[in-house]
Symmetry: C2
């Protein structure tokens, strides 16, 4: 097989047609209302509430600032412990730590790679204030079990749904579970505003609090009632978001075809596991991870290297895991004994190139390289 | 005098010509590199270093996230005290508090309305870790005195230069003073990227630290070395910033003419004071504040209300002051005894409409309304 002419990356941003965006930006420039909760910003919030099937949406300049804000909104005591997963992007534990809360890592399930709900309770101490599970790759956590634990121990639940835009469980928007769910609209995400994100939540009383925390605590011209920062999404981001609301479903459809093509190619390969989304759950189409078991011909890193030689850039996602990072590696909960599954899977999982415009030939080539080692 | 047909606000965003911006965005969309320290982002940093006459610039998604990050970059101990001014926008104390540091308010000078350097030392305790003065309205703080105090007591100095883009003292960029200076590029600022900001600093060792803090602590594909968040400026913001670098000087020139017109109209009005920028200092042209003394015919609020009736929207900036805000009003340093000048000026200062396209007729009308009460 010849090296692919152009590099194929794990994803490509889904952007609106520039001709559709032009009049939107022109309008923003003419009105000179370019940020600070403008018309497009407010319209986007309304439309996202529908798209995500949630009660309330507050949009942000990015998902990390949204997550950082969610932790403040729930009044978690400084220094308290937040149980989370190490099998996530760095932003998850960083938002906890930046706010001077303490992340406590819990191991993950072998199948969905989300937090193992059966291992949460043993990590709860009198100092625990919240659980921060992640719907990783868009695979939903065990929301029922987590809800039960949270109620029993009076803990808040914040879901990191960065990968889970539009995922539903039994027809319910995934943002309706827990106290708050964060979605990311980063360029690498299915649905994007280039940078951006939002918080979704049921409790209408959180609306004002989050509004204030996102905009300097300003209640009105003469009252500042809370310690807020600047998490505002500007009007250009919002206009991209409005246009992309018309595009992401088609992208999802195209990705489902690509997923089927990958599955077709790989399902009979021994010791390559394709994690499957639980029943009654819709697939966000965010990533296509495979698991290369030890018994396979070569290990994940060698597959990754081989693909790279042909100009196919898969992603070791997640490797390393958060409990390996310099700021966290010495935490008690970062011990390998506490996180056997996460430490096993970090060496086995590989996210393959996955976006609507990926052509069938490329999929076959990628799978042929993998299969050549079986 | 008849009510003005259209409302005149205190400022208008300075935006590039949309025809100049179009090809820039088109290029970004074609390359599909829309964020994550792209080409335009990196070029903007280089060009800002020249424009601001500083050694290092790191751009951010907004000035608040930049300031929040600067406080982490200097490793200030949690719970330590930061001496700052109450005569500033809410973001200044909020960044301190969000990071679980404690703001301590110091009174201001009557003339420049910046922190009164002679009152800083009496507020220093063993728990003080830094001083956070603000170059308010672009008026520079007494950087020499502040530097001396900081050296004597081994304190860090972070300047909030949100209003001071391009200000120079004796030909030196204002961002060269202190450890770090934050500039804001919000839509209301002379120089804007719609939302945006930067940190400027001399110490090259801070470069990596700030880079990491701004981008999730990611050192490379396999190492996360610090607790970082997402402070990234995207490529569209950066392209607006690049175009505006060619525009802000002309806007400044136009504002200087407007300032002269205001001064011409108001300088002989008894008990209206026009604060003047110190010698050997360039004027950023950010705001045009006037001070209405008690002995003037009517008070500031009535002037504000009268202007409003004619559709002229001045701004009581700053009223209230940060020490009046709900989260801070009970601090020991918020007592009126500690802040007599700030509490006096908050009732007297008024920022008049001030932007390049403001026409002479409007200036005369605004001044006529004010003068009618003298």
């Amino acid at each position: 097989m010849k090296k692919n002419k152009d590099p194929i990356y794990v994803t490509q941003p889904l952007l609106p047609n520039f001709d559709d965006l032009k009049p939107e930006i022109q309008e923003i420039f003419e009105n000179k209302w370019v940020t600070n909760q403008g018309q497009k910003h407010n319209l986007l919030e309304k439309k996202l509430e529908k798209a995500l099937k949630v009660q309330n949406v507050s949009v942000f300049n990015n998902g990390t600032i949204a997550l950082l804000t969610s932790l403040k909104a729930l009044n978690l005591p400084i220094g308290s412990e937040i149980i989370t997963t190490p099998f996530t992007f760095a932003a998850t534990p960083h938002c906890i730590s930046w706010n001077n809360l303490n992340p406590v890592f819990c191991d993950i399930e072998y199948n969905t790679m989300t937090i193992d709900a059966d291992k949460i309770e043993q990590l709860i101490t009198p100092n625990t204030s919240a659980i921060l599970p992640v719907h990783v790759y868009g695979f939903p956590c065990d929301v029922k079990k987590i809800d039960k634990i949270a109620k029993k121990h009076d803990l808040k639940v914040i879901y990191d749904g960065a990968h889970a835009f539009s995922t539903e469980i039994n027809g319910k928007g995934i943002g309706t579970f827990g106290d708050i769910t964060m979605f990311s609209f980063h360029a690498t995400k299915l649905y994007t505003t280039i940078e951006g994100g939002c918080l979704a939540y049921n409790n209408p009383e959180l609306k004002n609090r989050i509004y204030n925390l996102r905009n300097f605590g300003i209640k009105n011209e003469e009252e500042v009632v809370d310690i807020g920062i600047n998490g505002k999404m500007n009007e250009i981001q919002a206009s991209i978001g409005l246009l992309n609301l018309d595009l992401y479903k088609n992208e999802q459809k195209k990705r489902m075809k690509i997923k089927n093509a990958y599955v077709e190619q790989l399902r009979d390969v021994e010791d390559i596991r394709i994690p499957s989304i639980p029943k009654n759950t819709t697939d966000s189409g965010q990533y296509f991870p495979i698991v290369i078991e030890d018994s396979f011909g070569i290990n994940r890193d060698k597959i990754y290297d081989n693909l790279k030689e042909y100009n196919f850039f898969a992603r070791k996602y997640f490797y390393p895991i958060c409990s390996d990072y310099t700021p966290y590696k010495n935490l008690k909960s970062s011990s390998i004994n506490n996180l056997p599954v996460a430490n096993d899977l970090k060496n086995k999982v590989l996210c393959l190139p996955y976006y609507g415009d990926l052509d069938h030939k490329t999929i076959v080539q990628i799978c042929d390289i993998i299969k050549s080692f079986s």
